[in-house]
Symmetry: C2
Subunit: 403 residues, 2 copies
């Protein structure tokens, strides 16, 4: 194992010391970075002090990153450790890449891949950073892409007294609210010009396959305290999440919201935006559409500036390769149920990079659950996911050995 | 002088030890509390370390509260000190009340006035907490009232991953933006039902008087980096600020806006609202109208709760009393220009209380300038305001002695 100091957080890379040229090479990928823990006051325990708890009748590992992605990574490592104890060698040449910038779009990892193609050469990538769908193990073959950006709207040169200027001065919070309010029409359709240009309609086959999953929309929403879909009308939730782009405001701030009241008209207001993309939508084009949309909606006396986060295309991997059928069998044997060949609403930018830069597809399995609270307070990972996840990988290794 | 421990911050009260029953009694009112200093990083120097600077070609006192209201209070005290040095006694019985909760609506001071009517009995109140209008000394006879409240909109039970839920889950920032966007119509008129019920149209006379002031709207806006009025169309800026109610969002927050990006759909979003009221608008009725407006606009899956700050009626004081004509003369002599009989957009809740509880009108003069940055970083008070302000009060005292 070796640390590569690239970007703000080093990449950890390791490889089988004496690769066997007659065997295939698999690259296992995971990430050790996590989302910020705040609001920290909502955590039951220190987010960075792992502990095993009984929560909701289940044994879980509590802690930031327990599910996304540290616990998941360990399922693979534990399987390899057991396998090596018995068989002394793995059924493939293994390379491992654990990065520290997944949660901010893997900007340095892309560079690392580009600069170290030879080091990373492999036949297939294995990734354990996904979860179950409807309580069923799943193999993800479609992932949405993402564009993120920050908007800053500035009006007056300084904060103004809301009594002395209220009813005369332009309020940037009002300008920002108007822009946000106009992103979607009443049917949930995004009104940014040219936004849907490269969005392909779902084919009938796929639509029927997904409908057959009998996805429990009510439960999906109820589990998080909601009752009705806020997505595009005329699309099911699964269709919205897996095949339709979205635009969410992930944060907003401006003026004073501390204790008590401060009677000001603020000079500035900020919003963070996350646009989820589907196949063929180009991140750069979408960013340009978004910027134009905002600029065209700006009222007089407001200026806008943008800080761009990252942009990744959506990715679709072939569901016909050997490793995917092996994974299917292993999942059936371990969990007693056929896995779903699913799409996912969330981005894993590395999957696009692995395809674009190294030319390899990825097997995406994982054992996260909806209740894991990833990216939120009280993140957890079920002990069952941990143990049966490790068993699943062990079964995959066994099958690859026999094949 | 004595501190009265009432509410969160004590009231400082003092009175002439041996009142002369043949003289009138004046109550001087000021406040020692200030607005929060943040964003502290925008201050040139420590907000709480006063210092004299040359800023924009003028000698100024820099510091939080230098203008609002500590510097202003001292103009009166310095005049009294000089007057006492020469004449040994003031031309009236003086009572002084300095409170510490003006910036949050004087809730305890109201109680204090109610419980200590005998202690506070007086003929007129003197207040030094206002400023110049268009570079001219002004006597304020109309003040807008204020209602402030905090809105919290809650959707899901926890923050959600924007990839896993984006395009399905209700986003409370979007709901809040929609509400804010609908407060005003395109002409700047507030669309809250019944909001204007008790708003009286400006009479022709008043309208003409104010028009004659030749208020420089362009300069007023340019001074703070703006170019056009965001208030109600068909009303001048002075009319908007002095005679029309307003509704401003003074702060907004929700989700993640720290460094980098956090891909969440937040569970909650918050806004702080300040409504400025004019004569006859009832704060309780306006609060109820606002709450109903928000509730009626809530989308499915959103809940709203309100934290109410404070509510004060607008106040209008008679411009015909002796003290006001004395103040007019003193201002003309000291500053060489006739004062404006003005309205003010900002509330001084104590003025309403003084009228309602003690039955007295207030003389409202002050020497603050637009450039003072009150409630904002780099608050200042001009040395000229300090010295000539004290002289103005000294002239008022001399005139009252002769009368």
């Amino acid at each position: 194992m070796k640390n590569y100091d690239i970007g703000d957080h080093p990449i950890v890379f390791g490889a089988s010391p004496n690769p066997n040229k007659s065997k295939p090479t698999y690259l296992f990928y995971g990430h050790y970075d996590v989302q910020p823990p705040d609001p920290t006051e909502l955590w039951e325990f220190n987010p960075f002090e792992p502990r095993i708890l009984n929560r909701g009748g289940k044994q879980v590992i509590h802690g930031r990153g327990s599910s996304d992605d540290k616990g998941q990574i360990l399922t693979f490592f534990e399987a390899c450790r057991s396998f090596l104890n018995i068989h002394k060698e793995l059924p493939f040449n293994l390379k491992v890449l654990i990065e520290g910038e997944e949660e901010c779009g893997s900007p340095s990892t892309s560079e690392f891949l580009k600069e170290n193609k030879n080091l990373l050469t492999c036949d297939y990538a294995l990734i354990c950073d996904t979860g179950f769908e409807q309580g069923r193990p799943s193999i993800f073959t479609m992932l949405r892409g993402e564009v993120s950006l920050k908007i800053k709207i500035k009006a007056a040169t300084t904060d103004l007294h809301s009594g002395l200027y209220g009813g005369a001065a332009t309020n940037p919070i009002k300008a920002l609210s108007s822009i946000i309010n106009n992103i979607h029409d009443k049917n949930g359709r995004i009104q940014i010009p040219n936004f849907y240009d490269d969005v392909i309609s779902l084919n009938k086959n796929q639509k029927e396959q997904w409908a057959a999953l009998n996805f429990d929309e009510k439960k999906f929403l109820n589990d998080v305290g909601l009752s009705s879909s806020a997505g595009e009308k005329h699309y099911s939730i699964i269709e919205n999440l897996w095949s339709r782009p979205s635009c969410e405001i992930t944060g907003i701030s401006g003026g004073y919201t501390g204790k008590g009241f401060k009677t000001i008209i603020p000079a500035e207001a900020f919003a963070n935006v996350s646009l989820r993309l589907v196949k063929d939508q180009n991140p750069e084009k979408i960013k340009a559409c978004f910027r134009n949309f905002v600029r065209n909606m700006l009222p007089n006396d407001c200026k806008v500036s943008f800080i761009e986060g990252f942009g990744t295309r959506a990715s679709v991997v072939s569901s016909k390769s050997k490793i995917i059928s092996v994974a299917k069998e292993a999942l059936i044997e371990e969990w007693g149920v056929a896995p779903i060949l699913a799409g996912a609403g969330a981005s894993i930018p590395i999957v696009t990079d692995l395809k674009d830069i190294l030319g390899v597809d990825s097997l995406l399995i994982g054992f996260g659950k909806d209740e894991d609270n990833i990216h939120a307070p009280n993140e957890q990972y079920e002990l069952e996911s941990f143990f049966k996840g490790a068993n699943t990988w062990a079964r995959i290794l066994e099958k690859l050995k026999l094949n």
